[in-house]
Amino acid sequence: MADAISKRSPGAAGALAHNGAGPAGDPLTLAGRTLHSRLIMGSGGFASLTLLAEAIAAGGSEVVTVALRRIEPGARGSLIDVLAEAGVELLPNTAGCHTARDAVLTARLAREAFASDWIKLEVIGDEDTLLPDAPELLRAAEELIDEGFLVLPYTTDDPVLARRLVDLGCAAVMPLGAPIGSGMGIRNPYNIALLREAVEVPVVLDAGIGTASDAALAMELGCDAVMVASAISRAQDPVRMAAAMRAAVHAGRLARTAGRIPRRLYASPSTQDEGLPDLR
């Protein structure tokens, strides 16, 4: 795939295997924090908070996304308690926002609610595909960066848009592999590889992951981390799938830093011909 024709060495995304071969993997610095897990989990879609907590433990995630919604009278912050108990960093999102204005206000509310400058910026432009609205996304990113947020935008797999977001000062980019919740995997791996080369900030593959091999592919393409929500929470056994994602992300990262062999059309023997006996 695209890695065989990459302009850059596989090490573009980080240092090589001497510090990446440990069971915990090589650490990632994401928006000012050092992470040892490259699997970011979404908290949405779990049938219960107990299941969410078990999946986080199995996946080993250190960062979990949360949304903001109207609270009902008498409601208590049990989700927050569960996530605090799990010891994870919260990554608030602006899910459901369709304009820069709504996203900016939601981000400000998230900062107030969670005392965090991190924001996973989502500005949706289409109800059926939930694809990002690029002009609104850029507008919101610019405003939030001005206000001191560390912005992690959910974006398309367009390398040019990613570069524009990074030029504005985004701390990372979160390109989609396929539409949110579609489980279609990475539909354009070449674009993800190009995007990886287009920006110097961490790239977190977001949306589209369906199963473990999709997560491994994202890492092999050079992504620095993978964000998984529905593929875990809506799996038949979410806890087992979280463990699978953890292993896949780790394997993909190891393979990326190990440097894969180039693809070739014809065979290339791994056993030398020299010393071959004459058996006629």
Binding site: T65, V66, R69, P73, R76, L83, A84, R108, A113
Partner: protein, 67 residues
């Protein structure tokens, strides 16, 4: 009429945000809660003194599971 989370409320104008939240049984020390009035964030420190106007639109938001 003061609107709270899209619904008409019984709250009288002039009531503070802190008192309004108390009526909604939202603990003031609760984590992961944020409030906007008329589209502007009201920082937690201002809740006890922030007086709601007659037509205030209050949004009280909390953490919810989400991607």
């Amino acid at each position: 009429m003061i609107i709270v989370n899209g619904k008409e409320s019984e709250l009288p104008a002039g009531e503070t945000l802190a008192a309004a939240l108390e009526r909604l049984e939202i603990p003031l020390e609760g984590r992961g809660i944020a409030v906007a009035v008329d589209g502007e964030v009201v920082p937690r420190a201002q809740w006890p003194s922030f007086a709601l106007s007659e037509h205030a639109r209050v949004e009280v938001l909390g953490a919810m599971q989400g991607g």
